[in-house]
Symmetry: C2
Subunit: 199 residues, 2 copies
């Protein structure tokens, strides 16, 4: 089959690097890009470069910042005695949906998976221990994903943080709110049963 | 809800301009972009700019070219007496899958939709008439989409090309190969019935 002309082929190949984007979707995106105005295309290209150029790692929580400490770490209105530990930078914004939470964050940069070579030294665990050992922290809430890797990470963190006398907790497993137990999988149901609360 | 930091928000907004991409998908793409190497991001941005900068309209067929006549128009091995008319530049590559076709193309740039303001002067119909009136063309195959707009366009073209004595034809409607008639819609079935061929 004849291929698209070079500039389009290059853009299709670039779009294919995005998650879940195959040849057909990438082609659709490439032709949509062709229909943007030159100004819109310029803004788009600049935004792609921008995420690499203008984003730094917050030296405190290891999350994303626009340079120096991130907004949450710099916010003196937030309670520094509670740290919510998440796997990825994106999860900070996800957790911020829990409007009641006014503590700080710590981004690990992934979850432990020793078989894939992701050992504790590959994550920002040392930085977390440094923050906790510096004092003033009373609780560490581990908001790792509900995956085997997340479980391993949570168990590991609970163990290494124990000497510092902080309370460690983990997000609850259970039936999603609005969920029908008929459609919950066995493991979720088991965890929900195990974690039942008296009324 | 707290929003993402500015460089990420800009990129999310840029991705949202792509067809079928909402907030969630755009966010996923933005974070995937963040994980590209600086070189990959540079290539991506350059490809976005490239489709606007390096693509011109072929002066003959009104399709896409990398400058001057497109490869198909410039190919002297292809039969100039047959022109396949398509709606969009992308359709040329689609039609090229029909490996047996060795004629030329003409890209209209859309389909007639007078109610939406797409009148004949908005499409590259004049250029098609010029090509046909210059002589040497014996058949015009109208490969417009199987939509009401495509039908209108095909009927219009057949009428305006009539004075030049060229044969005009249209792609057949019918059951897709491998398709089960049980799942064909009424209109397709009716068209397939109407267009039945003796064995």
């Amino acid at each position: 089959m004849a291929d698209y002309i070079v500039p389009i082929r290059k853009l299709i190949d670039a779009y294919r690097r995005l998650p879940g984007v195959g040849e057909k979707t990438a082609t659709r995106y490439a032709f949509a890009t062709l229909n943007l105005s030159p100004e819109e295309a310029e803004l788009f290209a600049d935004a792609v470069i921008g995420v690499k150029r203008d984003i730094a790692m917050c030296p405190v929580c290891c999350g994303l910042s626009a340079g120096g400490e991130c907004d949450i770490c710099a916010d003196s209105d937030r309670d520094p005695s509670v740290i919510c530990v998440v796997e990825n930078p994106k999860d900070v914004t996800v957790m911020e949906k829990v409007r009641g939470y006014r503590g700080k964050y710590h981004v690990l940069g992934g979850a432990l998976a020793p078989l894939d070579g992701i050992t504790p030294d590959k994550l920002h665990i040392k930085e977390l221990i440094d923050r906790v050992s510096a004092g003033g922290v009373t609780e560490v809430i581990i908001a790792a994903n509900a995956t085997p890797q997340g479980d391993t990470t949570a168990a590991y963190l609970a163990r290494v943080l124990e000497p510092y006398g902080v309370k460690t907790s983990r997000l609850a497993y259970g039936i999603p709110v609005g969920g029908d137990i008929e459609y919950a999988d066995d493991v979720t149901l088991y965890r929900a049963f195990e974690g039942r609360r008296s009324l």
